[in-house]
């Protein structure tokens, strides 16, 4: 009766609870923390050493390293290096072009496949398909390049000729000379096939996590599968799927052997994707490395740094996108 009339006692502040860990634990924690920092250390070292090696060339070329489109090492009469210019622009363009083709062709197929796997496939067929696609994600890129050269090239050339015939009025699909093999288009196709399994796997995981109660609410309102997917699955998974697409983009940008085997790596700017010339930064490094003198090696290191930073940025954006939707609780 009178309890309620008393003044409530002041609420005490929570006690601070501390433990002094045992020595073995302190060592344990220290070791694990250092090990855990390894990724930070390694990434930092990569950036550092590539910069160190490449700094000379970068200092000379400065911004034209990225904007200029010339990569030559001129030798004088005695075979000594006389003059060299290093400008990555053509290869940067090639990197973006082939990766973009890969994403434009591969991501829609991957997302639709993921929708199929999550919402249409059932039972053992579903398990088989998922296993097959996950297995394909483990194939080495050399295999894709190889297969692309030997098997896909013929058909891809044919499609390129078709594109040129009907859409050749668009400059992108025009060619200066009818050389259709080993073009950025084909490289883009190979890269698309390479990234489809990864993007499918990520998208599938995201679609799987769509909250069941929202799906049921949509169906209970009389939705068809398409309506349900548009109203619930896409808004929920949009961010993550875009993140997965960016992951595919990053992968396509950094690919070396798959592009090298399929593309005629020639140092020139080539916007005309159906024409057989071009390259990306990674395949340039591979191409030039064998016979590079010390200064050219430095330039290649600088190119590697540019590639490293580019893929780092793309992957960072992808990571933020994939993880963000989970935290928002949408």
């Amino acid at each position: 009766m009178t309890l309620l009339e008393n003044q409530p006692a002041a609420i005490p502040a929570p006690r601070e609870i501390t433990t002094k860990p045992r020595v073995s634990d302190q060592i344990f924690r220290a070791v694990v923390t250092v090990g855990g920092m390894s990724s930070l250390i390694i990434l930092g070292l990569i950036a550092l050493f590539l910069s160190l090696k490449g700094i000379n060339v970068l200092r000379i070329e400065q911004l034209s390293f990225i904007t200029e489109s010339k990569w030559e090492v001129l030798q004088d009469a005695e075979g000594k290096i006389a003059e060299s210019t290093f400008g990555l622009a053509a290869m940067l363009i090639g990197t973006f072009l082939s990766a973009l083709i890969a994403v434009i062709v591969g991501v829609p197929i991957a997302v639709l496949s993921a929708l199929y796997l999550t919402f249409y496939a059932r039972g053992s067929a579903k398990k088989l398909l998922v296993s097959l696609i996950d297995l394909m994600a483990a194939f080495p890129s050399l295999l894709f390049g190889f297969w692309g050269f030997i098997v896909l090239m013929g058909s891809a050339e044919y499609w390129a000729k078709l594109l040129n015939k009907y859409l050749g009025f668009i400059p992108l699909f025009d060619v200066p000379a009818p050389i259709f093999e080993r073009s950025p288009f084909i490289a883009g196709l190979v890269l698309a096939i390479l990234i489809i399994p990864i993007v499918t796997a990520i998208s599938r995981e995201i679609f799987d996590q769509t909250p069941l109660d929202r799906i049921q609410a949509a169906y209970a309102l009389g939705a068809s599968k398409l309506s349900m997917i548009r109203a619930v699955v896409i808004p929920y998974g949009r961010g993550g799927v875009v993140g997965g697409a960016m992951l595919g983009l990053g992968r396509a940008m950094g690919e070396t052997v798959a592009v090298y085997t399929v593309l005629n790596v020639v140092y020139q700017i080539n916007w005309q994707i159906l024409f057989g010339a071009g390259g990306n930064v990674a395949s340039l490094i591979l191409l030039k490395f064998g016979e590079a003198g010390p200064q050219e090696v430095d330039a290649l290191m600088a190119a590697g740094l540019v590639l490293f930073l580019l893929t780092l940025i793309v992957n960072a954006i992808s990571d933020i996108l994939i993880n963000r939707f989970g935290r928002r609780g949408r």
Binding site: Q216, L221, G222, A223, P235
Partner: protein
């Protein structure tokens, strides 16, 4: 009407049921009601529901009561063909809406779900849509064209008892409301497609008493124009809102419907001993 807390004695529940305004089915009813004949349900080999035959007359509120795990929710989901979403689900018997078996071959299931709506236990408005969009989402999902969506929007929210609270913020997101408001939003959403039956699966169990009260008022209003079937764990709620009550029970095997009767009778003089044991609180 007495609404304060009463001891759970059958007689007091019965008096609550009796004390309530007796309902006269209105003239703006849709359809003739819902009936199930000999409905069984399985999940894989497990027989979870056995031989349930119930008749839900138009304009009535029927409560399904019983201890947890006796198949009430499963039964509810057979009424709007949500049961089939579970991969190993199977069914026998008939569910007749206006005399037509909804499981007949060639039936368009999306049309059935437009006529038999559902409100779930946990409120689930679509977070990517605004409040206004949520209410009208059923139209978009079923691709129905309506000409006077603003009027429809307002009338659904009014009937759900939410209009006054949200009329100025229809553009806000659905997740910004309280639990009780979200549930009323879900009710408004299911009204927009003009169902003739509304199924409610423990709609108030996740809500506070104030919201529960408001939703029960809504149920009473809605019953004037449709048939309502509500699963509830709360016997007082059954007494407060329903005209008829069906008692479900499982003895470890499939759930069965033990008894169905007008609500006041089931609480005052149940026919089956098991029912009596349950409503007097001897178990459950």
């Amino acid at each position: 009407m007495e609404k304060k807390m009463q001891a759970t004695t059958p007689s007091s529940l019965a008096s609550v049921a009796n004390g309530r305004e007796q309902r006269v089915p209105g003239t703006n009813l849709l359809g003739t009601g819902l009936e199930t004949r000999g409905v069984h349900a399985w999940f894989g080999k497990k027989h979870v529901l056995s031989d349930v035959s119930l008749d839900f007359a138009a304009g009535t509120v029927t409560a399904l009561i019983g201890p947890s795990g006796c198949g009430k929710s499963t039964y509810l989901r057979t009424l709007n063909r949500m049961h089939e979403f579970i991969p190993t689900a199977a069914l026998a018997g008939e569910v007749l809406l206006d005399g037509q078996d909804i499981y007949a071959p060639g039936t368009d299931v999306t049309k059935i779900r437009l006529r038999v709506g559902m409100v779930f236990q946990k409120p689930n408005p679509f977070p990517s849509m605004t409040i206004g969009e949520n209410v009208l989402s059923g139209l978009k999902l079923a691709q129905l064209k309506k000409s006077n969506t603003d009027e429809l929007l307002e009338s659904c929210l009014v009937r759900a008892g939410l209009w006054s609270e949200v009329k100025d913020r229809l553009g806000e997101h659905g997740g910004a409301l309280s639990g009780g408001q979200q549930q009323r939003l879900c009710i408004a959403r299911s009204l927009a497609v003009e169902p003739q039956v509304l199924l409610m699966d423990e709609p108030c169990s996740a809500l506070d008493p104030g919201s529960t009260f408001r939703i029960e008022e809504t149920i009473s209003e809605l019953a004037k124009s449709m048939t309502i079937v509500i699963v509830t764990h709360n016997m007082q709620q059954a007494a407060r809102v329903s005209d008829y009550t069906a008692f479900f029970l499982s003895d470890g095997g499939p759930g069965v419907m033990v008894e169905t009767a007008p609500t006041s009778k089931i609480f005052s003089s149940p026919t089956d001993k098991r029912t009596e044991d349950y409503v007097t609180g001897r178990f459950g």
